[in-house]
Symmetry: C2
Subunit: 260 residues, 2 copies
């Protein structure tokens, strides 16, 4: 096992069965060691709609009330997680679904904020990297969903991009780690509608300038902050790429994030 | 590790938070090795109702269409499983939630029946006992929900009583095993409304006679069939008991099932 690849599967991908299945088949067939991380936000919105409720978002972030938490746990830790695990198993890879509660692998605490009550949202306090590396050494694929829990047993909704970077950082204590964000775009795009505007590599300096100029905005900012944090904390390489580019995995693809 | 206790938590119990939490606290504090199995049928019915659908039952058995399967996976593998795992963790026991897909621990196939289409219902083909015993040896509590999967990656709804007995049988190949069905009644009752009609022990002969006389009927029949099958296949002891009786666990309680 030379390298552990931590791969985050984006929300839009996990909701399209055909694309997800192709991606999982591709991954399962490669002789690489990987940890998967997934969210699945759209599925929760679909279910809220089914029961006549609306997602409550403040500044692009979800407010997680009790009902939303229940649906998040049901969808992330239940439906999506088990679909991914079952698919990997069917392609001959031994897989294990995890929430942060399982094996105590990710400990979080309920977010506190001076003015906004985010509800049951968890900020990560500690990742037990040994749980993940131990599974990898036994040739088991950890499939980690975006649910964590606190020391009192309270389940919490947690950003999947952040889980991916924090897991990558924890595992990088003892192993060489590459972190990948796989989603429905080609990578970082200067024009979100134009795939040819792909930025093949992005330094922190250019990123800061582009954020100041408004060229990079909204959801890409926390994602890229996670990328740079991972590089700062010992992860070898970080890429953001289209899920279909993984047919060439693990060759470099999409946008390569560069620390300096 | 002298004995592995396989404990099935009944559907009514998992739906009452206070009772479930008391039970898990009691278990977590005891120095015993155990595997938990749970279903959670009522939760699926509640959700079907929320979206304006009705449970489809034939002869007391659920017909699992696509929507029902989705809700079963969401509730069993998601919400209930993670609530149990998080609770055990908060009491200092390391726990791991499992569906049959995880680690390939329970392989099933879609039920075929000459006249009834049960939908996405799985009959167990094989339990990988080593997955469970390996976790027990590492002092991890496996928490297994009533979802299995076939070799093609199709998730399937599977009777939790049957999962408990088949897991107990698989583990009994290499370890001494006691199987417990914990639920909301005192045990096998001759009058379901009268706790004092508890049958402290039940032999197969008496069971057959009572079934013929209609004294034991409906849901108790498949449960007891699972009990006798477990005894036939190497499980040392089988008991059916009220969840609150587990404060005295592992002393004998409820109805003790006797093979001969």
């Amino acid at each position: 096992m030379d390298i552990i690849h931590v791969i985050k599967i984006g929300g839009a991908v996990v909701n399209y069965a055909a694309q997800l299945q192709g991606f999982l088949k591709t991954l399962a067939q490669q002789q690489t060691t990987f940890i998967l991380v997934h969210g699945g936000g759209r599925k929760v919105n679909e279910w809220l709609e089914k029961i006549g409720q609306k997602p409550n978002m403040v500044d692009g972030r979800r407010i997680t009330d009790g009902q939303t938490l229940e649906l998040a746990v049901m969808n992330y830790a239940g439906l999506l997680n088990k679909q991914i695990v079952a698919r990997l198993q069917s392609h001959g890879r031994t897989a294990l679904g995890l929430s942060g509660a399982d094996l105590g692998c990710i400990q979080a605490s309920k977010r506190t904020h001076p003015t906004i009550d985010y509800g049951y949202v968890g900020d990560i306090k500690k990742v037990n990297g040994e749980v993940f590396t131990d599974l990898c050494h036994r040739n088991i694929v950890p499939v980690c969903c975006a649910i964590t829990c606190d020391t009192q047993g309270q389940l919490l909704n947690t950003n999947a991009d952040t889980i991916a970077s924090e897991v990558a950082i924890a595992v990088a204590n003892t192993h060489q780690v590459k972190l990948w964000y796989a989603f429905e775009k080609q990578g970082v795009l200067l024009d979100v509608e134009d795939p040819s505007s792909l930025v093949p590599s992005l330094t922190k300096g250019r990123y800061s300038a582009w954020v100041a100029q408004g060229k990079i905005h909204s959801g890409m900012i926390p994602k890229l902050d996670n990328c740079f944090r991972a590089l700062d904390k010992g992860v070898s390489e970080v890429n953001i790429a289209h899920v279909e580019a993984f047919h060439n995995f693990p060759h470099q693809l999409g946008t390569n994030i560069i620390a300096s």
